[in-house]
């Protein structure tokens, strides 16, 4: 994977996104996927008074955006 660069973006809320460019898809996607999996993705808000869930965000998806 010589020349491969992975870009990871952490937004102000601590959400993570990642991008791989100039890469051989499957191998680099696997690297990025593994790295993001290492970082964990689950965010859940729970109110203690009544244990009412106010927000649950556990989504994660992968999409291929461009291929040339």
């Amino acid at each position: 994977m010589d020349g491969m660069t992975i870009e990871i973006v952490v937004d102000e809320n601590g959400n993570i996104s990642g991008e791989v460019e100039d890469a051989v898809g499957a191998e680099c996607l696997g690297e990025l996927d593994a790295l993001l999996a290492d970082l964990g993705t689950v965010t859940k808000h729970v109110r203690t008074a009544d244990f009412h869930k106010v927000n649950v965000r556990t989504t994660g998806r992968i999409r291929n955006q461009a291929k040339a």
Partner: protein, 151 residues
């Protein structure tokens, strides 16, 4: 008196959380056994936490802000008052900064563990990392693929 709320965060590594607080210069206490939190009038509350930022370091009229280690993750314990607004003068703003910096530290740590050098670029409230392999390997380039993962 403001109610406390527990917020499950992405923070799973107490050691990295403590490193993050040190990096941000936020005074804190670390306890093996969870200790009580105190409200803005100095009254002991029912809520407990392992990592505690006392109210004097959170903001004016704030309550203690804590992180309770559940064994699987660290739950933020924050008062309803401090949940309002996201400016730095209240707990929510501080919590946001902590979670952001914790995540950045984890990116650096996990990238290093996987053999990547991380270049950090601060871009407003967003932080970008450009990761490049420490030890280049050969590959056959048969085409160009751009792949994005958003979580």
């Amino acid at each position: 008196m403001s109610d406390y709320m527990e917020i499950e965060t992405k923070i799973k590594d107490q050691e990295v959380l403590v490193q993050t607080l040190q990096k941000l210069g936020i005074p804190h206490e670390v306890h093996d056994e969870p200790q009580p939190l105190y409200g803005y009038l100095g009254k002991q509350r029912d809520q407990v936490a392992n990592v505690i930022i006392r109210r004097a370091h959170v903001g004016k009229a704030s309550n203690d802000l804590g992180f309770l280690n559940t064994g699987e993750a660290l739950t933020a314990v924050i008062s309803e008052f401090d949940q309002r607004g996201t400016d730095d003068r209240r707990g929510a703003g501080m919590l946001k900064r902590i979670v952001h910096e914790y995540t950045c530290t984890m990116v650096e740590k996990k990238a290093a563990a996987r053999g990547y050098a991380a270049e950090r670029i601060n871009d407003g409230g967003v932080t970008r990392f450009r990761l490049t392999p420490n030890a280049p390997t050969t590959r056959s380039r048969t085409g160009r693929t751009q792949t994005r993962v958003r979580l």
